[in-house]
């Protein structure tokens, strides 16, 4: 049994921490498989809904997964279905061309090998070098952004929403400059 399927098996026994680790291994490949939907649907919605359905499947379904990386392959199929559901909703009110999206071939994906300690170290080092105000905004977003809206976070820092977001943009640019100086390129932090 592959490492990612071992984590999913533990999740089936109700181990939520194992499920969190499973999500960490599945997140990048699922994200990569969804990029083709990026213009039409909010991928964050698809990711969160996919993971919630996989948790439900883990804890309430007796369905047996077979083959290597079976839990990841199942998650990819779930993600594709969730994206299609979102597409159907998007069709009601968008001018984005959706032609061909659903018929695009699947990408071959492998589970994530796990955290990259050198990348994490470089990011943490660069975060320390960001000026105080932008760093405070970014740190608060990272610590609480999963459960609180940006408007709430801005109020906690006594900032207007636009100012809060602009501070995060500044933090991102500062982080990008620092990482580039270390020879690290993480596409998207920085554009």
């Amino acid at each position: 049994m592959s490492g990612i399927d071992g984590l999913f098996t533990r999740a089936r026994a109700g181990d939520a921490m194992a499920f969190a680790e499973w999500m960490g291994r599945a997140e990048r490949p699922i994200g990569a498989s969804l990029v083709r939907f990026a213009r039409a649907v909010d991928l964050e919605v698809v990711m969160q809904e996919t993971f919630l359905r996989m948790w439900l499947m883990a804890t309430t379904s007796a369905k047996v997964f077979e083959g290597e990386n079976a839990s990841l392959r199942m998650a990819l199929a779930v993600a594709r279905n969730v994206a299609r559901e979102e597409l159907r909703r998007a069709r009601l009110g968008t001018l984005v061309s959706l032609e061909g999206l659903e018929d695009a071939p699947e990408l071959a994906v492998e589970p994530d090998p796990g955290p990259d300690p050198s990348l994490a170290r470089a990011i943490r080092d660069c975060l320390r070098r960001i000026p105080d105000r932008p760093r405070a905004a970014l740190e608060l977003r990272v610590a609480q952004g999963c459960a609180r809206s940006d408007r709430e976070l801005a109020e906690a820092l006594d900032l207007k929403l636009n100012t809060f977001l602009q501070q995060i943009v500044r933090a991102r640019r500062s982080l990008a400059d620092c990482l580039r100086g270390k020879g690290v390129e993480v596409a998207g932090v920085w554009s």
Binding site: E44, N162, G188
Partner: protein
């Protein structure tokens, strides 16, 4: 609220926070809905990179997406 420029709008859509409707359905970010389609490609790339930064900053290595789902799971 004053109108956001594209860079600020993009940043507003990067957050893992998503509202839910009364049935529990996760709703798209309002900022995403306001983004021009050609900018949404950039959003996807930026979300991936942001999740990387979140993993580096979280004590258990959880991205914002994983944190949001775990909040839902552990909170019932």
């Amino acid at each position: 609220m004053s109108r956001m420029d594209d860079a600020t709008l993009l940043e507003a859509a990067v957050t893992p926070f998503r509202e839910r409707d009364r049935t529990g359905r996760i709703l798209p970010s309002p900022a995403f809905m306001d983004l021009p389609p050609e900018v949404r490609d950039e959003l996807a790339t930026r979300q991936i990179a942001t999740r990387e930064v979140e993993r580096a900053m979280h004590p258990l290595g959880w991205s914002g997406t994983v944190q949001a789902v775990m909040t839902r799971i552990l909170g019932g």
